[in-house]
Symmetry: C2
Subunit: 261 residues, 2 copies
């Protein structure tokens, strides 16, 4: 059974997409077979993985709203290794309203994943679901499909404000839709070691979540933000850069820790 | 009639909240009377304006879902000058689903604002509505209430990807719910002059939106991100810092330009 992560945080711009694509790319370079599901209507993860999502391509929208199979929309990434992506496109922006009136609306992604693993997918090692910055029906679908939550936390003050809300939503899902769901991994991102604020936030997070926080910390590094403009992850764009190395270390830690008990 | 702006961009973390509170604080220091409406369930704008929003305080949720009056939830900010805020609180996270079944659901904020201006508010000069990073019913309510859209654009690659979607949503609103709505102002944020990427994005935006882009550009500056941890805007936290001065300049430009014809 593959490890299924949802990468979520309703605070915007904290590094959800950047973390999803770079952890996935690093694991694929280690030899794992990895699937990224892009649940964000902006399609940033699809872009970073080299998949053009602006036209009328088959996308995760077709899976959720029209019941198409996951295998019919999956494309291979241009990145190295066995890295695949179920892309999003602009149709997804209107999906939540349409999903509202579909039966089993919270389980649409879970059902599609179950079908996929039963038919094709039993050789995947990891699945990462990149979420939009909200706690709507798309993110709920991700929460009901995964067993693990990876929360990227930007080392900034506002990043802590939304955390309680995120954790109570996850707790609610755990009580209802998906008793397997737990926060297994927390990753500190955009850490600027020159600022006192970053050290304070990091210290605070380590105290509250000693088990889940990874030792690897992602520094703020311009090569990381340049990579998507070349339709690449930073792991392939500049492998020996500090941003890439820290994502490789984080991926290594996730692999070594293994799935929670 | 006050100028009503909605500050929106569905891309997360681009500086919507930071722009809302600092432009509002600067205008209040010029002597204007300003109202900030916090439509983001995370309540970051309320925090920056010194308003505790974690408890069971009257909030914009009561206005939208329970029909309370706007004047019953407005509090004066701890910032200098005539700066007021209609705070959000955690209840707002579930508001979109509840608003769905209320009549005139797209106009709930507009109706509340009309009532407020008719009874109390005719001496306000500006209203700024801080939006969450999505294009759901809360942002739609902001779009139907305002005449002007202020779009903060982070000088990063992903920031350009979501712009088309945002502009087509605004165009749709202009054709339907609110024919007065227009993108009057674009502000470049988190500009890091050391990176080629920032210059490229800024150049791109200036070419596409020569009329709307302000001359003032907000640099990435740590004092800006420290201010909310003291429940302040950067304009009051460190008035002579480069981040504060650039927001003061931007506010000055918005005031001088005046409302679009
Ligand atoms: N370590 C880093 N160093 C520098 N820039 C970074 C880093 N991580 C992410 N970025 C940049 O910061 C911005 C926000 O990151 P990203 O888009 O991954 O966040 P997100 O949480 O997915 O945003 P959204 O909430 O919109 O989905 C992007 O422009 C990205 O390129
Ligand atoms: N000019 C700047 N320099 C440095 N940091 C900044 C600047 N502007 C904003 N920030 C920081 O960047 C982060 C994102 O900004 P902000 O929260 O205002 O964006 P937002 O668009 O409102 O996010 P969301 O999409 O979650 O509502 C915050 O931690 C903020 O303090
Ligand atoms: Mg993202
Ligand atoms: Mg905000």
């Amino acid at each position: 059974r593959p490890r299924v992560f949802t990468v979520s945080n309703q605070k915007g711009g904290v590094g959800k997409t950047t973390t999803t694509v770079n952890i996935a790319a690093a694991l694929a370079r280690f030899g794992a077979k990895v699937l990224v599901i892009d649940l964000d209507p902006q399609g940033n993860a699809s872009t970073a993985l080299g998949i053009d999502h602006h036209g009328d391509i088959p996308s995760i929208y077709d899976v959720l709203v029209e019941g198409k199979s996951l295998s019919s929309v999956i494309q291979k990434s241009t990145e190295e290794g066995e890295l695949y992506c179920a892309p999003s496109n602009l149709d997804l922006a209107g999906a939540e309203i349409q999903m509202f009136s579909i039966e089993r609306r919270e389980y649409l992604l879970r059902d599609a994943l179950e079908r996929f693993f039963n038919e094709h997918g039993n050789d995947y090692h990891y699945v990462f679901i990149d979420c939009p910055p909200s706690l709507g029906l798309l993110t709920i679908n991700a929460f009901s499909s995964a067993r693990e939550v990876l929360i990227p936390i930007q080392c900034e003050y506002y990043a802590l404000e939304g955390l309680t809300q995120l954790l109570s939503t996850i707790e609610m899902i755990n009580q209802g839709l998906n008793p397997y769901l737990q926060v297994s991994t927390i990753l500190l991102t955009m850490f600027d070691s020159r600022t006192r604020l970053a050290h304070e936030v990091a210290e605070d997070v380590r105290q509250h979540f000693p088990q889940q926080v990874l030792n690897a910390v992602i520094p703020r590094a311009v090569r990381v933000s340049e990579a998507p403009s070349y339709s690449q992850t930073v792991v392939s764009y500049d492998t020996m850069s500090v941003g890439s190395i820290s994502y490789i270390e984080a991926a290594h830690e996730i692999a070594l820790r293994g799935a929670p008990g």
